[in-house]
């Protein structure tokens, strides 16, 4: 394996170089094909440059982020709360297990029509569906985290006279936090996907998803592709933000895990 300095630099540049080459290939092919279906890279970039900074588009982004955040927080709160309780009680877990597994494997899209009937064609439905999709991975990982609390920790809590509510809030919650955060990370991606779905299939409304659909009816291929790319970018940024927050919140865990790995 070559590890000389020039070789390492070359390796680092290979990825970006291939990426740029792929873009160039697309550009050439799109220009050659000259079909409105396949916009050139430059056309997409131009449209993005023009549209993305406008207040109109920013409003769409805010709308999408708003409903995503609402659904995510709601779903996460339910997932964590229910997970802490179910994690602490074997009886409760057993009772809920079939229902939980069934609902957890139901894709959010299947809930949409039922939610529309109950909540209408607006954001209430969208947020409800997003929360539904988000709460199950969080629930599962929270339960796992609580169940993984070591017997020594539980015994210590008993010796320190920790009451039931205190046990869940002051012992189980922090102890399970690494697992909870892992579930929250999975739920982040799921939440964004379901947000897009909710904008596609629930009524008209606004948001980046809506923007894509509208631009499609206007035959604005660069706009459509740009919108899709924006969603990808959004997902990427949210993920990186999550990692930053995770590192701070779980700093004690990384340290402790590092020590015990020795």
């Amino acid at each position: 394996m070559t590890t000389t300095a020039p070789a390492r630099v070359a390796r680092r540049l290979l990825g970006p170089a291939v990426f740029v080459a792929a873009l160039a290939l697309w550009q050439a092919w799109a220009a050659h094909k000259d079909s409105f279906l396949v916009p050139t890279v430059t056309a997409v970039a131009e449209r993005a440059w023009d549209v993305w900074p406008t207040s109109g588009f920013i409003d769409q982004v805010t709308a999408t982020l708003g409903r995503f955040a609402a659904g995510y927080v709601l779903g996460a709160a339910i997932g964590v709360a229910a997970g802490l309780v179910l994690g602490s009680s074997r009886a409760a877990r057993r009772a809920f297990e079939p229902l939980q597994e069934f609902l957890g494997s139901t894709p959010a899209i299947a809930i949409v029509p039922a939610a529309i009937v109950i909540f209408g064609l607006g954001d209430a439905t969208r947020v409800a569906v997003i929360a539904f999709a988000v709460c199950f991975p969080v629930l599962v990982s929270t339960i796992e985290g609580v169940r993984a609390v070591s017997p020594e920790t539980r015994d210590t809590a008993r010796m320190l006279h920790v009451g039931p509510a205190e046990l869940i809030l002051r012992i189980y919650a922090p102890a399970a936090l690494p697992s909870i955060v892992a579930g929250l990370r999975v739920a982040l991606a799921i939440g964004l996907i379901v947000t897009v779905i909710s904008e596609f299939v629930v009524g008209s409304g606004d948001g980046v998803g809506r923007y894509i659909l509208v631009q499609r009816t206007l035959y604005d291929a660069p706009g459509v592709y740009g919108g899709i790319l924006f969603l990808g970018l959004l997902g990427y940024v949210l993920n990186r933000l999550f990692v930053v927050v995770e590192r701070r919140v779980l700093s004690w865990h990384y340290g402790a895990a590092g020590e015990s790995a020795r």
Binding site: T153, T156, M159, L160, W252, H253, G255, A256, E259
Partner: protein, 273 residues
């Protein structure tokens, strides 16, 4: 400085009365008819081969487990759940100390229901840490400290609520030999120097030398199912010292006696099979 040895008339604070522990109806017993008393201010060591039930016994003494038959009495009252007067130090400090709390917060944890300002609780926690020789580590996390220091933190946490009885479950088994020696002397100081009284301690260990070095009496359990084989008085003078005490002929006599007792038990067990 209290006199070495136990006053003959010191009242018993903890008593085990024919404690038997069975894990299933007709399964093997972990403990059978274990009876003994712990006098106030006494340091009682419990030794026995692996699987003899010493940890089970300690769990029953602490209230974490209930005996199948018999009872544990604390000041005359039966122990059914962990009593406020008892503190327990576990072998695995890394799982017993809470990794999401700093050292000082860990030590403060038993005081969370206490009246008074938070600042007072911090002071008490820092004082407990200082008594264990730990200063300036309060704001660190437990895993940032060495094993020996972590166990000291665990002991500090056990002491901060001023328990009457301190139980320790093989507390020095997870540290290296040099640290173990340090911690033994730390425990001796805890025994004698706290608040001008002797702390009542029950110390479970597999290390016979450690038991004899630390204790006033050593309770010897048989291989599983655990029964009390004998209780050996350790009349060595206090304060004890690693080199002087351990090389004294009396020390060797006691530890050899215990070794022989245990060896005979093992032989009887394997001979009888």
């Amino acid at each position: 400085m209290p006199a070495a040895g136990i006053h003959l008339h010191a009242r018993p604070v903890l008593r085990a009365d024919e404690v038997t522990k069975r894990y299933s109806e007709d399964g093997p017993a972990a403990l059978i008819d274990v009876s003994f008393e712990v006098a106030e201010g006494e340091l009682l060591a419990v030794v026995g081969p692996s699987g003899c039930g010493k940890t089970t016994l300690l769990r029953i003494l602490s209230g974490l487990a209930r005996p199948s038959e018999g009872a544990v009495l604390l000041g005359g009252r039966p122990v059914v759940r962990p009593p406020r007067e008892v503190a327990l130090v576990f072998q695995d400090y890394s799982r017993s100390l809470f990794p999401w709390l700093t050292v000082v917060r860990n030590v403060m944890f038993p005081l969370r229901a206490a009246d008074g300002a938070r600042a007072d609780r911090v002071v008490r926690a820092e004082a407990a840490l200082a008594e264990l020789g730990l200063e300036g580590v309060g704001r660190k996390y437990p895993w940032q400290l060495s094993g020996g220091m972590q166990q000291r933190v665990a002991i500090a946490r056990a002491l901060v609520s001023r328990p009457e009885i301190l139980l320790l479950d093989e507390p020095f088994a997870s540290v290296d030999a040099l640290t173990r020696v340090e911690l033994q002397d730390v425990l001796l100081r805890v025994h004698t120097e706290l608040e001008h009284r002797l702390m009542t301690i029950v110390h479970v260990t597999h290390d016979i030398d450690e038991a004899v070095y630390l204790a006033d009496r050593v309770l010897v359990l048989s291989p599983a199912p655990g029964r009390v084989v004998t209780t050996v008085d350790v009349k060595l003078p206090r304060p004890r010292a690693q080199t002087a005490t351990r090389s004294s002929p009396d020390f060797l006599a006691v530890r050899n006696e215990i070794h022989d007792v245990i060896a005979k038990q093992q032989a009887r067990r394997s001979g009888g099979e």
